[in-house]
Point group: C2
Chain length 530, copies 2
Amino acid sequence: MCAAPAAETGLQVQTTTARRDGGRGGRAGRSAREGHAIAQKPFRQPRRPYSFTEAVSADGLEAIHDASMRILEEIGIDVLHEEVKDIFRKAGAEVDPGSDRVRMDRGLIAEAIATCPAEFTMHARNPAHNVHFGGNSVAFAQMASAPNCSDMDRGRRPGNQQDFRDLVKLGQVFNIIHLSGGYPVEPVDLHASIRHLECLRDFATLTDKIFHVYSLGKERNRDGIEIARIARGVSHDQLEREPSVLSIINSSSPLRLDTPMMQGIIEMSRRNQVIVMTPFTLAGAMAPVTIAGALAQQNAEALAGIALTQLVRPGAPVVYGGFTSNVDMKSGAPAFGTPEYMKAAIVGGQLARRYNLPYRTSNTCAANTVDAQAAYESVFSLWGAIMGGGNFIKHSAGWMEGGLTCSFEKFILDVDLLQMVAEFLNPLVVDDSTLALDAIRDVGPGGHFFGTAHTQERYRDAFYAPLISDWRNFETWSEAGSPTAYQKANRLWKEALAQYEQPPLDPAIAEELDDFVERRKAEGGAPTDF
Amino acid sequence: MCAAPAAETGLQVQTTTARRDGGRGGRAGRSAREGHAIAQKPFRQPRRPYSFTEAVSADGLEAIHDASMRILEEIGIDVLHEEVKDIFRKAGAEVDPGSDRVRMDRGLIAEAIATCPAEFTMHARNPAHNVHFGGNSVAFAQMASAPNCSDMDRGRRPGNQQDFRDLVKLGQVFNIIHLSGGYPVEPVDLHASIRHLECLRDFATLTDKIFHVYSLGKERNRDGIEIARIARGVSHDQLEREPSVLSIINSSSPLRLDTPMMQGIIEMSRRNQVIVMTPFTLAGAMAPVTIAGALAQQNAEALAGIALTQLVRPGAPVVYGGFTSNVDMKSGAPAFGTPEYMKAAIVGGQLARRYNLPYRTSNTCAANTVDAQAAYESVFSLWGAIMGGGNFIKHSAGWMEGGLTCSFEKFILDVDLLQMVAEFLNPLVVDDSTLALDAIRDVGPGGHFFGTAHTQERYRDAFYAPLISDWRNFETWSEAGSPTAYQKANRLWKEALAQYEQPPLDPAIAEELDDFVERRKAEGGAPTDF
């Protein structure tokens, strides 16, 4: 086992953001003063250089497709929205009189989804934070929609505005978080009628990345679109040419499309904004206990929603979302990051590519604390998501307890995992310089490479420098108090928060945002009977 | 979020080994009485149903190959063994007079390795535990060669015979451990001259799986081969037809082949036993700081050793081993489970397949405790190993601290990870039954699948049942004392050890083994000046 001491090698790690004065002052003090004490790579979407992994054959894929078409043709789907039933009827669907059941044939689906864009770009108020969807691009979004949050110091608690803002700020600090996928935690201390206005203003001001609006009543979609437009300082026309907000649509599995979700598709697609159509098909509970069956159901529900986006506005940007996992058959509790989850994530990608659509998946776990389970379930999730071709990885950072809690420490742990995945997706360079024949010749049998020119020229950014991993030997680590990854993450989220800086915003835009939000609040916000 | 209570569903998990009396008695008592309290699948090697992931193009692969050939042709490799120098010289290599430097051209390598078998089977004393090497087969071997071991109760300590035996027993208990890759921990309380005799007898009696002999002097190889032969109860001829023991050969990077390792190849290959030729090429230390360069060096060292096996005995079974990782440039400490490690593991597989050889890789981490780091570094390692085409995954269970410690808890955690990987490699079945159209029809929009016949018929083994993952909700988990994965693993290794049963062995064979070992001990064992 080789472990040459630092004293021998004289090497000091230096990663991408220059920081040459690392020897002075305490770490926390430095963090606050320097603004970028936590070294990281610039904002950049990874691109997948590897071939996609496939978990079913071409025949198997067609069998799943065929089953999902038969579900829509023979069983149908309940649509709890009169206008949407009309839209489907006019497109040729059979709508049972006096019921919500809608049956559509495969021809309708094929014709409707033919207009979906295979790839598109979303526009942030900071154009450097635009995000590409589709192809080989990968985008990581922070965890969304947790009712609770937690950290090691303060424990687990219901979501609130302060924690919401802190987590949104963390999403802004880290370049590996490319956009927001919703409220990292639900701030239940804000009244539901005006919560979206406060939260959306926070997204538009505390961050300059793309954000999400919930489809919980059409007023919220409209407010979200308008806040994104004001924040970007663009016209209504330009906003429609340049999709700027996204909304997740979940079907109510099995086979039901609820009112606010249908309103969301109408409001968002009509304005050419992004819909991410994601059934949540838990095998053994709201979907068949067999993964193939759960995927057939997922596909039927997803394609019904995706078809609707195109019937509302042909060419509207839409993402195929897959979220099939299994339940614990002992308790009925959802499980995540399981082998079944991985396979479902991979087949979801095969389906999305079959329809030439960007693919959304997730980084999940069922753990209650930031232990080995949290880590392995998350990396297994990422394994399925990345090798399966995920373009938009939701819940990338912070997710715990099957989505019931957003953890500050898990957020940092996940940032490290995502940065590692991004580095893994960085193509391996093979050329004369990296093949290093001259260095090998110079060192020769029995030597070592620590002091060679080839090493000296490259060591600063030769390897990924982890946030969490403690690579000290056991004795040194023990003397330092045997810190766990959880404890290191606890220190790091505070450092990261201390170095947060609000991104610049034109004062006129800030004022316009405030005027809009205050007016809408004065009007009473949005109905709460969704 | 769906979480139907068990009371509603009436489902109880039952996995593969039948155990219907689960309600009676305490868990630990049950374990000891029933022998198989920890449910697991039967012994079976996974087969990879997915396409291999490739991290370099065909051109990139050829460039690495070419660089490695130039290393052997132009720089050469130091061989610290006169007989091996002679073997290489007779095969056409250029051997510097008065030095150990051996240069061989690509023609010699190509001709020599052309006789390597692409796949082969190793024979255990229990034929049900035979292991196939190569193709799409995957074999997991327990961690090997740790100087220390640890558990949560007793802390970290130097290896000793009791811990050695306990870890060997754990390797026998779990069906996902297909063979041994060496001493899980080095029993330093046994004198080095007779340590191999005691350890090999333990392997031959406490387990009925394939084991490894160290190449630390030819006497040890010979003793190991003879003990395997006696344990199997076969003739010398049959043993030569049916490879039964393996030995890992590490080059002394950079570019040196040491005496005991060369003796090992001669002894093992001459008897048609298995060599796993594995350079340990740490980029930035004993190999170039660039992964491509480290791989070129790995390939040169590996192919020199592999060529030697075939020059000793054409057709002798041999495995291409890859163990390229990077060091922490701050400290020089080896790092594991890094993005660089993953890419190197994947390219290693491409190289092995280029030469039509089985591929060995590893499940590693640098963590000092069984925390999130231990888990994510291990799963990243497995991601690279599995998608890269690893056939023989060494150090699969127990590895901590870059190999310096074998942890009882990490062993259990890894067993769970390996079982999940095996389940992930289980092909997804797509047919009328799994597509479940009738079940979806019966349940219809808005229903649920808990009580359906389709679910009832399948729920028992529909999903992987984890050893470690705690899927209880936060409240129930908190009431249970908020156990971590580490704590659960601590309980489980004790349960597993309690249910260990010594595999049957013909008393005549046991006596012959004892006679052999005692005779060799009386002779003084093996020299300790290797």
